[in-house]
């Protein structure tokens, strides 16, 4: 299997990004495409571990990473693709935007740089599309049962794809103009080109999945309608209720939720209309992004491309160490300072800052008063508490403020409310082991059950729900 000594011979090599001054002029993909030979060499670094932590500890969808690495090393792209697709419905998405917990768990990462698993995965699927392997493959036998999936984000698509291949009739409903959910509207084009989403949707349609867009369940169609036409229903509406900040001045103009800003940009690029009065644009502005996560980083890259005068990103937590923090030992996802392509493009990053007050002029925000904080671990252990540092206040100038502090849970949903579907105390939907809610025949998957999380986790949950639905319908049959 593989190259036994590959990991001792080759170093990790990432393909890298287009030059900064070139890439910030457009919204096209920033990551470069590696040569095939380079990918095979990188795949040769895989040690084919007897206990592959990448596969069984890192990757939420349990991608069989050592086996596709070996196939790639051997040049057997078709076999690699088969293995990849057996676990991953949409490698072209995860291959582009997954933070790759697999690489955090890679055994090589204990004392060297991990294998470029995400990049290998992306190469396999793109090779698959290029070589024509990715043809529509409708199921050989169709079953009579039909399933409605409400929501077309990564979870909804994964459910639809999995159930469709198992022979079920699947209709995916979504309120937006086009299917894709966060994939289409949340993630910036420069990270995930919308042509990639379109390509997948077309493939799924060719395989028999029906997409019904601009349909708001509860408004446009009723639960009863669904109940009569479908044997099972799966909720996959996401958890896009943004977390807000309570500080004086929050009502000032120029303070927006990050997702609103990002969605607008994606719609704009996708040819959808954005009402001029709602437009959020960074051009010529001093932008402050509050929140140090991925959404924040996306706001940075988008702002830079829109022509912001300056971009600052602040985070309430302290600056992580440059390499794996001791609190997240291998094989955990390493907590460490990450510099995204967007960060490289020009922004000031600051840590341990809490926002105290938004200061405005004539109703429009102009700056934010912030204070430095310390994180103090109580003597008895446990989570550290935040303590403001007296006298450390300062003011950051900003006339566009983007709030990227995460999400608090699922948005209001008429089916959930109307049927009194049971929730967990934290607001997510309760489900049993098969992902069924307390209402028989109604399933739930993705962020609605776990809160906002990674695309790959939503997909994992979607696969799990699909398995639950299958089992439920199998049981009903007999």
């Amino acid at each position: 299997m593989g190259k036994v000594t590959g990991f001792m011979e080759f170093e990790r090599h990432d393909p890298g990004y287009r030059p900064i001054d070139e890439r910030i002029k457009d919204f096209n993909a920033v990551e470069l495409k590696p040569l095939e030979v380079a990918v095979r060499e990188q795949a040769a670094r895989c040690m084919d571990c007897g206990t592959p932590f990448c596969h069984c500890s890192g990757c939420p969808i349990e991608n069989v990473i050592p086996e596709f690495n070996d196939h790639v090393y051997q040049g057997r792209w078709k076999e690699a693709l088969d293995i990849l697709l057996s676990k991953d419905n949409f490698p072209e998405f995860t291959g582009r935007i997954c933070p790759a917990p697999c690489e955090g768990a890679c055994v090589l990462g204990i004392n060297k740089d991990p294998v470029t698993i995400r990049q290998v995965e992306l190469s396999i699927i793109e090779k698959g599309f290029e070589s024509g392997y990715m043809k529509p493959k409708p199921p050989a036998i169709r079953r009579n049962e039909r399933v409605a999936v409400l929501g077309s984000g990564p979870a909804g698509l994964a459910i639809a794809d999995t159930l469709n291949h198992a022979g079920f009739g699947v209709v995916v409903y979504d309120a937006e103009e086009k299917p894709g959910g966060i994939l289409r509207y949340g993630i910036p084009e420069f990270k995930l080109g919308k042509w990639v989403v379109d390509r997948r949707i077309q493939l799924m349609e060719a395989e028999g999945v029906v997409f019904e867009n601009r349909v708001r369940v509860g408004d446009d169609i009723s639960y009863h309608y669904l109940q009569h036409r479908f044997d099972a229903i799966c909720l996959a509406g996401g958890a896009r209720e943004a977390r807000d900040i309570k500080a004086p001045g929050r009502e000032l103009k120029g303070i927006h939720f990050a997702m609103d800003f990002l969605v607008q940009q994606n719609k704009r690029l996708g040819g959808e209309l954005v009402a001029p009065e709602t437009e959020i644009l960074a051009a010529g502005k001093d932008v402050l992004v509050i929140g140090g996560g991925d959404t924040g980083s996306d706001c940075v890259g988008t702002s830079v491309r829109q022509g912001a005068k300056s971009v600052t990103q602040i985070e309430i937590l302290p600056q992580p160490p440059p390499s794996r923090a001791t609190s997240t030992p291998w094989p955990m996802w390493p907590m460490k300072l990450r510099v995204s392509s967007s960060h490289q493009e020009g922004c000031v990053r600051r840590w341990s800052l809490a926002s105290k007050e938004f200061i405005g002029h004539e109703g429009a925000v102009q700056s934010v008063r912030v204070i430095e904080v310390d994180w103090v671990t109580p003597p008895a252990g446990g989570r550290p508490n935040m303590v403001e540092k007296v006298g450390s206040e300062s003011v950051i100038k900003a006339d566009l403020i983007l709030l990227a502090m995460g999400f608090s849970g699922p948005e209001r949903n008429k089916i959930v409310d109307g049927l009194s579907i049971k929730k967990e105390p934290n607001g997510v939907i309760w489900r049993d082991k098969q992902n069924m809610t307390n209402i028989p025949g109604i399933f739930v998957a993705g962020d609605m059950t776990q809160g906002a999380s990674l695309v790959v986790r939503a997909m994992r949950d979607g696969r799990q729900a699909a398995a639950g639905i299958s089992a439920y319908l199998d049981a009903r049959r007999t």
């Binding site: 206990t51 088969d82 055994v107 004392n111 036998i141 030992p329």
Partner: protein, 1507 residues
């Protein structure tokens, strides 16, 4: 009388073994005298150390003597008893063990009745005078009443009368048993007109004390066959003592089950004019309840009674090797081939002494695994025994001293008054009939059979579906089949196995997975199937006759198969055969898809009935086929089908002539094939495996670019190699006797199912029945045909050998590894508990037997009442892992940690750097407390042995019990070579057996040797759990081991063939419990400590082990994980990325483990143990040992397959008062060691270095002489020893075994006389000189002066032997120099260094596995190249100046030390004689030496240039 307990718990008397000392004495002229009788008693006394005593320390395991009927004596006795005896030869004497109780009268009257019914004359009874007072307590309790019956033959005399008496005896046995009932025993030691047996549960010396007859001067015989038994049990059994009626056997029949099965299937067909209708009265031929030796005696008795001569019969039962590689003439090959069709070998190590009263002889098995030394005197007397020197015969009287070679036989014909040696005897036998022509003319030839394979084109559309039907996984294809197809070898893996037992797996399991291979441990050795391949054979026949009592050319009408694997073409040829008596019939093996257990049952019944019908209709080739079954049929597990049909045919008496062929898509790996053959298949066509391989080849997915035909041939070659390995593990050489030998145990199958289809196989915990088997087969059917939704582009993952989330589960899951490492590194007990919970909680998902246990608390106590952590950790040891398999950093971390804790670490089998014996400046010690002595003996020097607290004899290891190992040359770096005393770059091979342990008495000797070299160290023996390990352990305890380690099959960190990792051996729970129960039953438990290991991971595991009986607990894999191992399972690649299992300096740098982590870990384990103890209510570990009553099966477990399990056997506690843990010590009998007498005289020399020279007589009972002194020298001076000849010890006599073992530099041992086996074992610098008895008149060079296995594992020193020696001379020598005048078979086997000069005869297979050192052979007759194994060596003339000088120097020394006539002659004619010398030069050694010389030259040149 038979005091053997009935089966109880895990103990089963069926597993008992015995070994022993054996011999015969004869007056060649046939003159009867009392001297022969009294001498035979003397020999028994001198072989006492080869026997054993029981728990009461005075009951022997059994001894006896077989004599001619002494007419003089019996006539005298008859007169006294007032009855008349007919003339000599016309009456018979029955020796009887009859009940002591009042049923005796009924017993005697029945006998009398039978005698009369058989038309013989009843003459009278005689009470045999015995003295029960000298018996041990156990022997006396079981003592029978001994009587003799005299029978007049009427018209019959001699052999004809004996035939009649045979019928009488068989009748008596059956009839008396009916009369006296099951609680009383009746046994007939002998019943003959020619011979009589006096035996009993005695020690050798007690025989004449118990039987007064033997002291009567009128008790005369010309022949005596003697036997001293060493049994693994201590249960008093009078009837299992030997000799039997025709033979005495030192050895073990490994194929017994198969031999009995085949004998049974012949019974219907037996017919002979000599018996007429009487033949039915002999059935069953094999008396039930006998030992393996007794069964062999039964078989011999039948053949001899049937009219064959006794040597002829012996050659049928225990044939020598006669394969293509064996040098043998065509007539003799013809003899063996003809008889191979009649009788499969009774295979195993054996010295047999046999007699019918008119001839007496002896024979050795094909491997020569037992010693047989003989002396013939000028006055026509011969004595043969397991040792030389058993009788004191003055040198002047000796005509010849010799030893039997492997496969050889020797006969004394008292009528001809001469000794007939092997060659003459076999030449005679081979030409009794034109056997060669019979074979040639009658063999059935089939055109095209076993020709080159044709490529096949897989049916790719359905391939995947059919693979799914038979449960194929990606691993089967990529990991198992690919390497076999590409490289013709089985795949190798590492780090044991941690997947659930088949019965706990949620994945549908093949029936094969519920079986575990058995393997040889101690009572017989495994064979090396590579280096000693010449004794092995996979050849097999179809069409065997069942009437073995006749001899006709028709019996050679056989279809011969070279090996049991049929290609598709072969099968078609066979299917289409249209020859008389050879026509085939195909029987589909399927049951209705979705069907229940009853449906499966019914299908099997139908199949058996159909098979019977076809055979009745004249079909002789039954093909059981699961190929292209009709729609709607699920394949019956092929093993089930084969076993059921085989059994049905055996029962109906028509199995012998029928060939049973499995055409199967299910069987693919070696284990599958072994099982099918082991349960009766004649041949196998694994068509789906072939097709899968063809598919791989076609898609270019093999690692080499070869076509499908070549790939399939490789696969078959790998299967053959693997099958030889599986057979050799059990010590079985030929497939003919492996077939239906059933050397497996079932784990997880219901007893009733086993009894019906696999009867005779042990299944000790119950398990699945037919309905579960049907369900698993149906699950595969569904996977294949009823799962349209699934994406069928490839196979399921598998996950047995590498973790896959959708595959088989592993205990070492990432969460467990990560938690354990974090816990140990950070000292975080909470994290440890999280890890322990992941491992311990198997309520939902089961892995191990112990996972099913639940504790039954007594009265809980508070934690502070429990013994402290510091005490508990002292019971922990780390597993034996050699420096070489793991890095120095990892190895030393373990030693330091265990020394800090007061536990023990283990050197493993690769020696140890002496630098580690000195403590580090900070007080830490890197010295391993346990030093391991393994079969390779690498680095086992005297210094190594004296620097430890425990010497551990590794008999087997969990990952590959019964197999040897190999460290390839490229891994033997400078450092490893240094500690192993070998040459860097030269491959090191570990033999499968210890060549000084072929039997239980041998391990007693090795324990004694080790105790001598280091009396302070305890000696332990490491065994692997398998059926019967408890009985082996009992034998080991009787051999005086201080500690016995029972390893689980699942442990093992080293590289091993995957089939061995998965399928050989049993879980430790079974082995430990069986051992505990057997030792307690035997009252042996109190003298020994028990240790267990094998995937022990948590404190709960430790508590379970303690409750089942272990005092100490071993951790290997777990310790490595603590040190950073991430279960890569790639140790065999030397690419361990965390620096644990690698020698690559770049990777070793990455090692981040530390002793601190281990200390944390073991503290955690002990803490968990304490918590459980408090909960259970135990204050000390000692209180907990053996308390299996505190365990029960967890009732909450509802897994569908587990519901048939029953653990009552594991949890059984024998109801006796004997101790359940170690409370005493072994008596090592060191007090009688000769060295103790010598030490006071050499003490000054050791202390001051002032030379000393002593003289002392020596006898064969003086064993291991010089070794204790050597230990003292090494303790003081290390390996450097003393200056040459500081201590000179001169002996006269016959030295006992292990003469001069481990002698160090500065010691010189001179022996005038002869020596037994194991001379110079482990020699570490000493000098040993052996020359004939002063006054001997025989030619030294043509006589045998020392025994087998000399210089085993010697590292340096010199040996000069003025005479020939036995088998395996200088085996595994890595540095000693030796001159000898003739060697037996397998000389210089596995040698890695040193020099050997042989001035005479060499046996076959010289230099097998010899990777280093040089040998010079004086090849007078120019035949050496035919006898040498040329796989690894080149043969050259001695031409270089340096070689000539070396050889000459050695010969000069030989003359100086021994006065060798032959060496002097050669030296005197040096120029003429030199061309007769051949230099044996290992190829690899030459390459390495060449390289070193080049480097030296380069350095010299550089020095010249730069200097």
């Amino acid at each position: 009388m038979n005091g053997m307990p009935s089966p109880q718990g895990l103990y089963d008397p069926a597993n008992e073994h015995d070994n022993c000392g054996v011999g015969f004495l004869a007056n060649i002229d046939g003159v009867q005298s009392h001297r022969i009788v009294s001498d035979s008693i003397e020999v028994l006394k001198n072989l006492l150390h080869r026997g054993a005593v029981g728990g009461d320390l005075s009951t022997g395991d059994g001894a006896g003597v077989l004599l001619q009927i002494s007419d003089k004596f019996f006539r005298k006795e008859a007169a006294r008893l007032k009855f008349n005896l007919p003339a000599v030869g016309f009456y018979g004497v029955g020796m009887l063990f009859v009940p002591q109780s009042n049923v005796r009268a009924a017993c005697l009257s029945t006998i009398q009745k039978v005698i009369q019914e058989e038309s013989l004359e009843f003459i009278g009874w005689r009470e045999v005078p015995t003295d029960g007072g000298i018996l041990g307590e156990q022997a006396r309790a079981a003592q029978p009443h001994v009587m003799q019956v005299f029978v007049g033959g009427g018209k019959w005399s001699g052999p004809a009368l004996d035939r009649k008496l045979y019928v009488v005896r068989k009748q008596c046995q059956r009839r008396v048993a009916e009369v006296i009932g099951p609680d009383e025993r009746f046994y007939v030691p002998s019943f003959s007109s020619r011979t009589i047996v006096y035996k009993g549960l005695l020690m050798g010396g007690q025989v004449s004390g118990f039987y007064k007859d033997l002291n009567d001067p009128d008790m005369e015989s010309a022949v005596a066959v003697i036997h001293q038994r060493y049994s693994t049990n201590t249960f008093p059994s009078w009837e299992l003592s030997q000799p039997f009626r025709f033979l005495a056997h030192n050895g073990e029949i490994n194929t017994l089950r198969g031999n009995i099965n085949q004998m049974q299937s012949r019974e219907n067909g037996l017919a002979s004019p000599l018996f007429g209708d009487d033949i039915r009265k002999l059935i069953p031929i094999i008396d039930p309840g006998g030992s393996d030796s007794a069964c062999l005696d039964n078989a011999l008795e039948l053949l001899v009674a049937g009219g064959r001569s006794i040597p002829h019969s012996m050659m049928m039962l225990i044939p020598e090797a006669w394969g293509a590689k064996y040098p043998m003439g065509p007539d003799q090959k013809g003899f063996f081939e003809y008889h191979a069709g009649l009788m499969e070998p009774w295979d195993g190590p054996a010295t047999v002494a046999f007699t019918d009263g008119s001839v007496v002889g002896t024979l050795l098995d094909r491997n020569g695994l037992r010693p047989a030394r003989y002396t013939i005197t000028k006055d026509n007397f011969i004595v043969m025994a397991s040792e030389a020197g058993v009788l004191n015969i003055p040198a002047e009287r000796v005509l010849e001293k010799g030893a039997l070679r492997p496969g050889q036989m020797m006969l004394v014909d008292l009528a001809l008054k001469r000794v007939i040696k092997d060659k003459e005897l076999k030449s005679q036998m081979s030409r009794r009939q034109p056997y060669r022509r019979w074979v040639e003319e009658n063999k059935v030839s089939v055109q095209g059979l076993f020709e080159a394979m044709a490529p096949i084109i897989p049916e790719s559309e359905t391939l995947l579906q059919r693979q799914r039907l038979f449960g194929y996984t990606r691993e089967d294809v990529q990991i198992l089949l690919e390497p076999m197809a590409a490289k013709a070898h089985e795949a190798v893996g590492s780090m044991g196995t941690d997947t659930p037992l088949a019965v706990f797996s949620e994945k549908p399991q093949l029936l094969f997975s519920y079986f575990k291979q058995l393997f040889a441990q101690i009572t017989n050795p495994p064979i090396d199937p590579i280096r000693e391949e010449l004794v092995m054979s996979l050849m097999t026949f179809i069409g065997n006759p069942s009437n073995i009592l006749l001899e006709t050319p028709q019996f050679a009408r056989l279809l011969k198969l070279r090996h049991p694997f049929l290609s598709n073409e072969d099968l078609e040829q066979i299917r289409g055969l249209e020859i008389k008596d050879f026509s085939a019939s195909t029987l589909p093996i399927g049951f209705p898809a979705g069907g229940s257990g009853e449906d499966l049952d019914a299908a099997l019944e139908r199949l058996c009935a159909l098979a019977g019908e076809r055979v009745s209709a004249g079909k002789t080739l039954l093909i059981l086929s699961d190929r292209d079954l009709a729609e709607g049929l699920t394949p019956i597990p092929v093993l089930m089908a084969v076993a059921a049909v085989n059994r049905h045919l055996v029962r109906s008496g028509c199995r012998t002539g029928v060939g049973l062929i499995a055409e199967t898509g299910e069987a693919r790996e070696v284990m599958h094939m072994a099982l099918l053959l082991g349960y009766g298949a004649t041949a196998i066509n694994p068509y789906l495996a072939f097709e899968t391989i063809a598919d791989l080849a076609g898609k270019k997915e093999l690692s080499v670019d070869i076509g499908s035909a070549r790939a399939m041939e490789n696969y078959v070659a790998a299967l053959c190699e693997g099958l030889r390995k599986v057979m050799s593990k059990m010590g079985i050489s030929t497939l003919r006797s492996y077939r239906s030998a059933q050397v497996f145990e079932a784990v997880g199958i219901d007893q009733a199912v086993v009894d019906r289809f696999f009867s005779g196989t042990a299944s000790r915990v119950g398990g699945i029945g037919l309905s579960e088997m049907a369900a698993e087969a149906n699950a595969r059917y569904r996977e294949a045909f009823l799962n349209p939704g699934a994406d069928l582009t490839f196979l399921p993952a598998g996950g047995q050998y590498r973790l896959r989330r959708d595959g088989e589960r592993h205990l070492w899951a990432p969460e467990a590894i990560a938690n354990l490492q974090q816990a140990a590194r950070s000292g975080n007990y909470a994290l440890y508990k999280e890890y322990a919970r992941l491992i311990n909680d198997q309520a939902e998902k089961q892995f191990t037997l112990r996972g099913m246990f639940k504790f039954k608390p007594l009265v809980p106590i508070s934690l502070d009442e429990v013994e402290p952590v510091s005490g508990i950790v002292k019971r922990f040891v780390t597993g034996a892992m050699s420096f070489g398999s793991i890095s120095r950093e990892a190895h030393e971390s373990m030693a330091i940690a265990m020394n800090r804790l007061g536990g023990m670490s283990n050197s493993g089998e690769g020696g140890e750097d002496p630098a580690r014996y000195k403590p580090l400046p900070n007080g830490d010690s890197r010295c391993s407390a346990v030093k391991q002595v393994a079969s390779g003996r690498f680095g086992v020097t005297t210094e190594f042995c004296v620097n430890c607290r425990e010497l551990q004899i590794k008999i087997a290891q969990g990952a590959k019990p019964g197999e040897g190992g190999q460290l390839p040359g490229h891994k033997v770096n400078e450092e490893i070579a240094k500690v192993r005393h070998s040459t860097p770059g030269v491959t090191l091979i570990s033999p499968p057996p210890h060549h000084d342990i072929y039997s239980i008495e041998d391990i007693k000797q090795l324990i004694y040797d080790l105790k001598n070299v280091n009396p302070e160290a305890r000696v332990s023996v490491k065994l692997v759990s398998e059926l019967g390990v408890g009985t082996i352990a009992a034998g080991v305890v009787k051999a005086h081991a201080d500690m016995v380690l029972i390893s689980g099959y699942d442990g093992g960190t080293g590289a091993s063939p995957l089939s061995s990792i998965k399928h050989a051996g049993a879980p430790w729970e079974l082995g430990l419990a069986e051992t505990q129960q057997t030792l307690v039953l035997n009252n042996l438990r109190g003298q020994v400590r028990l240790q267990t290991d094998g995937q022990i991971k948590t404190g709960r595991d430790v508590v379970v082990a303690a409750l089942l009986g272990a005092e100490e607990y071993g951790f290997a894999t777990t310790a490595l994980v603590v040190l950073g191992c991430v279960m890569m399972r790639k140790c065999h690649n030397n690419t361990c990325p965390v620096g644990v299992a690698t020698q690559d300096p770049r990777l070793r740098k990455l090692f981040t483990g530390s002793p601190d982590h281990l200390v944390n870990f073991f503290t955690f384990i002990a803490s968990e143990v304490r918590e459980i103890m408090a909960q259970l209510g135990f204050r000390t570990i000692d209180d907990m040992i053996g308390r299996s009553d505190c365990l029960e099966m967890n009732p909450a477990i509802t897994f569908w397959k587990a519901k048939g399990l029953d653990f009552s056997n594991i949890l059984y506690r024998p109801p006796c008062d004997s101790p359940v843990r170690c409370v005493g010590k072994q008596d090592h009998e060191l007090a009688s060691a000769l060295d103790l007498k010598l030490i006071p005289k050499v003490k000054a020399a050791i202390e001051t270095g002032k030379p000393v020279s002593l003289e002392h007589p020596i006898r064969n009972v003086n064993r291991t002489v010089g070794t204790m002194i050597a230990g003292l020298v090494a303790k003081k001076y290390g390996h450097a020893g003393l200056p040459e000849d500081t201590i000179t010890l001169n002996f006269k006599g016959s030295a006992g075994q292990s003469f001069g073992a481990w002698c160090t530099k500065g010691m010189t041992l001179v022996l005038e006389g002869e020596s037994n086996d194991f001379l110079g074992k482990g020699l570490s610098g000493g000098k040993i000189i052996v020359k004939p008895f002063p006054g001997a008149t025989y030619e030294a060079e043509s006589n045998i002066i020392a025994g087998n296995v000399l210089l085993y594992g010697a590292t340096c020193g010199e040996v000069y032997l003025n005479g020939g020696v036995g088998e395996r001379f200088a085996i595994r020598n890595s540095g000693a120099i030796a001159v000898v005048e003739g060697v037996g078979d397998h000389g210089c086997e596995y040698m890695t260094g040193g020099r050997v000069v042989v001035l005479g005869h060499t046996g076959v297979n010289f230099g097998a596995g010899m990777s280093g050192g040089l040998a010079y052979i004086y090849d007078e007759h120019r035949i050496f190249d035919a006898r040498c194994n040329l796989d690894m060596v080149d043969l050259e003339l001695v031409v270089s100046k340096a070689d000539k000088a070396e050889l000459r120097g050695l010969l000069e020394k030989h003359v100086r030390y021994t006065g060798s006539r032959k060496a002097r002659h050669i030296l005197e004619n040096w120029e003429d004689q030199l061309p007769y010398f051949i230099k044996v030069f290992p190829m690899e050694y030459r390459r390495v030496i060449g390289q070193m010389m080049k480097e030296d030259e380069a350095t010299e040149r550089a020095e010249v240039i730069h200097g």
